[in-house]
Symmetry: none
Subunit: 226 residues, 2 copies
DNA sequence: ACGCCTCTTCACGATCGCTTCATCCCACCG
DNA sequence: CGGTGGGATGAAGCGATCGTGAAGAGGCGT
């Protein structure tokens, strides 16, 4: 899950970025509204966290612009504590939720999770493909009852695949969601991680779940072909 | 449904009590923390609404005392709007939810309803993970019968871990609950305390309970891998 | 005021996993 | 059936992260 944090104050930006990274998100940051709007493929983020008070172009304007461009990415707005108007304006401008500064990180995390959950209508924290299951909160992964332990990147990759089952995901798309922007797409990092994932989850099983679509990308599916 | 409202300001107390009564709740009120604690059979309420700012004994203290006495009644805490520390402290001291003043009555009502629906099994007195047990009231910790003595921070850390077994907890999240809000997240205090906890708890045992999830955080679990 | 205990800080070494690279394998093309 | 290009694989480098010992800072009771 990729998140864009738009925040001018470095301390807060760091605090948020680090916390999110620890919780398995790929994070990019922008220091002002203009930078946010010029961010390449801004639409590819899964969530955008937007401070209202920004130099140059303020958060509400950024939000409006994004919505006008057709971006549907969930936006979480950070507002000053006593500016009720901002909250209203924020929601009116197309934000999905707001959080009043200063806030506890656990609160931010809870709201980000809620916003992520929105897309896949699936309730609960567990993703399932065949006999493979992955709990997004406890980070527990098991296949056919046997638990599997994964590294951070492996988990992020598998989670992304499992959020889009039966769907062919190109390397570019995967890179965009599992890695952050300064990703060097000439390497075969993804291939290597896929290989390691396979060893851990498809390893000894007859019935493979991760499939290669030559020249296109990867697909996770309980069905064999398709 | 019986509700205890603890609030010193008469206007707010009246507003809340009256509104709740109109919605079919039986309401009692206390004007300060001391009165609240001396209320006969305080445990018999279905919900307690507690202002943080109270004369004599403040809300957080009341909350802690109640929990220490083994009261499981859901507590909704009313906090001032800009006091993040209060929110965090409130939740840590055993409150189930909080509401920032000023609030809309409809919101209060919604939260009270949510708390009534909740099963009160949440705050048992002893937490258990494998052969490790921790009593939140007596503050007694033992592993496999042998008692272990911990320092205050170690206890707080272990309690927090044990309240979320099998779950990976990031340092940011741990810091927020075990330390207070102005925590410097560049140090490795958490690591050090984890190390000391391990020495006391996992030390000589073959079967380790505290696991490191590299790049993510820590997890306590009776199962080996997670 | 003193000493003890706990919490915190710091520096350093060990470890782990992400990434890179070279090489091998295989599917699909003509 | 052989060539080609994309994918798989194993190993190794390196940087980030974690564990650890020791020492400083601060609080508490005696």
């Amino acid at each position: 899950m990729r998140i864009l944090v738009v925040e001018d104050e470095p301390r807060i930006a760091d605090f948020v970025a680090r916390g999110l990274a620890e919780n398995g998100y790929s994070v990019d940051t922008a220091r002002d509204g203009e930078e946010a709007l010029h961010w390449p493929s801004v639409a590819e983020f899964d969530v955008i966290i937007l401070d209202v008070m920004l130099p140059r172009v303020d958060g509400i304007e950024v939000c409006q612009t994004l919505r006008r461009q057709g971006t549907r990415t969930p936006i979480l707005m950070l507002t000053a504590r006593d500016a009720v108007e901002d909250r209203v304006k924020g929601l009116d401008s197309g934000a999905d939720d707001y959080l009043v500064k200063p806030f506890a990180f656990a609160e931010l995390l809870a709201r980000v999770r809620a916003l992520c959950r929105r897309e896949p209508a699936l309730l609960g924290t567990t993703l399932t493909v065949g006999d493979l299951s992955l709990d997004t909160i406890t980070r527990h992964v098991s296949r056919g009852g046997a638990s599997v332990d994964l590294t951070a990147k492996e988990f992020a990759l598998l989670e992304y695949l499992m959020r889009h089952p039966d769907q062919v995901l190109s390397r570019t798309v995967i890179a965009e969601h599992v890695w952050n922007y300064d990703f060097d797409n000439v390497t075969n990092v993804i291939d290597v991680h896929v290989k390691n994932l396979r060893r851990k989850i498809d390893g000894e099983y007859e019935h493979k779940l991760i499939h290669t679509m030559r020249g296109i990308g990867y697909r996770i599916s309980a069905r064999g072909a398709g």
